[in-house]
């Protein structure tokens, strides 16, 4: 186990995440550079080179192979980590989907970045939305501490014998990966208690020959898909438990849906990822002006926490949903679409107004948030709720 000690540090979030991976004592890291994820694997390379972590660092020739190496490594029962962004995720998407379908546990730090074209290295959620339906567990973190903690949470969820699914820890590229933030480290004892050694039941081994990745005829493919659906839904209580136990050990509590000043709110702004912190600040400001606004933050994206989400918003008048990606030719952003369908036909369902903002790193300031919230409220009141608005569009 690594010697990276406990304590509070001011540290770049990527480095803190890499330290967490080392503290989790991974066996295999598959690495390929792509901005803004690169600092994570660079730091892991250092940690392995310095002998602080005993692991195989596999510097592959493409992200497609990174995910393939991860599949092979997970299949023999090794604790497995990789990290990517954007084009890297797009390139590996074929195998990314197979990893979930084959129930291969692994953790990915997914530093969210826009997809080409035009080429852009900056942050939004177009990459993760491309693999929305892949069958991975996806959660979003909002700050450095959550990113660090998220690595342990993710391994715990992924390797649970009742889950056996890959987990992506989504963090906003640059906005988080390149920030220096205060992060409270945990010690080895705590990790040992929280994260048991990975023991895979049917790992590839000559003493217990199994076949993995067989093909299916139509007579059985449907059932195989259903088992995936049941698998990820059934993972939900384990996900919640993984966060609850972390909370009990560290005092840092995480929930699938986080709410801020929603109890007496008439309406809410909904975010996913690092924009949640700005949203809370703006809600405070608006509260002082008499706006009864709250914030709902979606932490767990897949499996989508349907009940918790409904519980948190039913009875509100309207929701202003901030998306960071467009599903071209549809209702708008993937998050708003998800929420609209979650609310359809529900009693006391709020009206949904959808904004897409902050594409490819375009700044969404407090002022912008304020505009979105107040403008969105006006749209809701006047019944202009169809489709979406691309905020800040020039020309």
């Amino acid at each position: 186990m690594s010697e990276i000690g406990k304590g509070r540090k001011g540290i770049e979030v990527s480095i803190a995440m890499a330290d967490a991976v080392a503290q989790a004592d991974v066996d295999v890291i598959a690495a390929y550079p792509i901005t803004p994820q690169t600092h994570i694997v660079e730091h892991l390379a250092d940690i392995v080179a310095n002998g602080e972590l005993d692991a195989e660092f596999v510097p592959v020739e493409s992200e497609h192979s990174a995910m393939s190496v991860c599949c092979g490594s997970a299949a023999v029962g090794a604790r497995t980590f990789t990290s990517t962004s954007s084009q890297g995720l797009a390139l590996m998407s074929e195998i990314f989907i197979i990893a979930a379908a084959m129930r291969l546990p692994m953790v990915m730090a997914l530093a969210n970045r826009s997809l080409s074209s035009p080429l852009s290295i900056w942050n939004d959620h177009t990459d993760v939305m491309m693999v929305r339906d892949a069958g991975w567990i996806h959660f979003f973190v909002e700050n450095g501490q959550e990113a660090y903690d998220g690595i342990f949470n993710a391994f715990r969820m992924s390797e649970d014998p009742g889950v056996m699914l890959p987990v992506a820890v989504n963090l906003d590229g640059f906005i988080m990966t390149h920030m220096v933030e205060p992060v409270e480290y945990v010690d080895g004892e705590l990790i040992k208690k929280y994260l048991p050694e990975f023991k895979m039941k049917n790992a590839l081994h000559p003493d217990n020959p199994v076949s993995m990745g067989c093909f299916a005829m139509p007579e059985i493919y449907t059932e195989a898909q259903m088992s995936r659906e049941v698998g990820i839904k059934d993972a939900y209580p384990t996900i919640v438990k993984a966060w609850d136990e972390w909370g009990a050990l560290t005092g840092r509590h995480y929930k699938p849906i986080e709410t801020y000043r929603t109890d007496d709110a008439d309406y809410c702004i909904i975010t996913m990822g690092s924009f949640g912190e700005t949203a809370m600040e703006v809600a405070d400001m608006l509260r002082e002006e008499g706006e009864k606004v709250g914030v709902v933050k979606i932490r767990l994206w897949r499996p989508f926490p349907m009940e918790e989400f409904r519980k948190s918003v039913l009875g509100k008048k309207y929701l202003i949903v901030l998306d960071r990606a467009i599903s071209f030719g549809s209702q708008g952003g993937p998050v708003a679409m998800e929420l609209r369908s979650a609310l359809y036909g529900q009693k006391d369902a709020p009206v949904v107004v959808n904004y897409v903002a902050g594409l490819a790193g375009r700044d969404v300031s407090r002022k912008d948030f304020r505009n979105i919230i107040l403008e969105g409220k006006k749209k809701a009141v006047s019944g202009h709720t169809d489709g979406f608005t691309l905020y800040g569009l020039r020309g």
């Binding site: 393939s68 023999v76 050694e197 590839l204 076949s211 067989c214």
Partner: protein, 308 residues
């Protein structure tokens, strides 16, 4: 290949790691290659296999033909998947998470998986030097999807995407020389083999697996369906390929070439090609051209083996 002056029956392990009952075509020499290689490698083997004939004929959920631990993931990535298996096992053994054991890591793919779509992952895995054996099962086309050309399809062969026609000789490019590409990675072991020479194939598989580091084995695997020959003649055609010099059997151990088998009398290439359906449109002039190209490569290997 061993050379004996007295012949006696050779013993082969009776254990079958590739179970009978798979769905390969009659006379498939590709599945024979798999069977023989597994006999040579034995039970302590983990295999990653590419999508293709051998995967499809062996693993219809919930059945399997594999009596060794086996994983299929995708078409192009068996060498990357096996890199992960090897790395994972290595780390876990080093850390004492699982007991130490010598395991053969093998990746297998067809010529399409190897010479075309999986070339990047293969080159990456060879270059990184994982301790594994890559086996290319070369039946000279994408057979699983219905006999489409690959870059390993020989000049003149008619396939469904390189059909012979009034303005086409069929495949108009030359067969990609995968063994030479493997050699260029400076790995400790590269060899070519053919199922019609079973002991040579098995010895090479064994030797390759015993090497430390990456090894590459290129196996000419006759496919009666795709080559349009009678199923009972698969072994004969493998022999003709070798005896005509079209497919030289050789080894490159730590960069040193040696020809495994020198045909006592070189038979004309025409004997190998003329009766195959995929070449039946060729004229004598075409056959002559093919023979010349084959001889050039054959002589090159001979020269290298003689330390020229």
């Amino acid at each position: 290949m061993d050379k004996y002056s007295v012949y006696s029956a050779r013993l082969v392990d009776q254990t079958e790691y590739m179970a009978p009952g798979h769905r390969a075509c009659q006379g498939c020499a590709e599945v024979l290659a798999v069977r023989l290689i597994l006999k040579a490698l034995g039970r302590d083997t983990i295999m990653a296999m590419s999508t293709g004939c051998m995967e499809i004929i062996s693993s219809p959920l919930p059945l399997t033909s594999w009596r060794i631990p086996w994983i299929h993931n995708a078409f192009e990535n068996s060498s990357a998947v096996v890199s992960g298996c090897e790395s994972g096992m290595k780390a876990m053994m080093r850390k004492g998470r699982i007991p130490q054991k010598k395991i053969n890591f093998v990746a297998m793919g067809g010529d399409g998986a190897t010479a075309d779509i999986g070339m990047g992952p293969l080159s990456g895995a060879l270059e990184r030097g994982h301790d594994f054996l890559y086996v290319c099962l070369d039946n000279e086309a994408y057979m699983n999807t219905g006999i489409q050309r690959s870059s390993s399809t020989p000049y003149g062969a008619s396939t469904t995407t390189s059909p012979a026609g009034k303005k086409s000789i069929g495949q108009h490019t030359q067969k990609k020389n995968m063994a030479q590409i493997a050699v260029a990675h400076n790995i400790p072991y590269v060899a070519t083999a053919c199922t019609s020479y079973p002991f040579d194939l098995m010895e090479k598989a064994k030797r390759a697996a015993e090497m430390n580091g990456a090894a590459y084995l290129h196996v000419l695997s006759v496919c009666p369906t795709g080559w349009r020959i009678p199923p009972e003649e698969a072994i004969k055609y493998g022999r003709l390929a070798v005896e005509s010099g079209m497919f030289p059997l050789y080894e490159v151990v730590n960069g040193k070439y040696s020809l495994s088998y020198k045909p006592p009398v070189m038979i004309p290439v025409k004997e190998y090609l003329a009766a195959q359906g995929r070449y039946r449109h060729l004229t004598d002039t075409d056959l002559h051209k093919i023979e010349e190209m084959a001889m050039q490569e054959y002589q090159r290997i001979v020269r290298l083996s003689e330390g020229d």
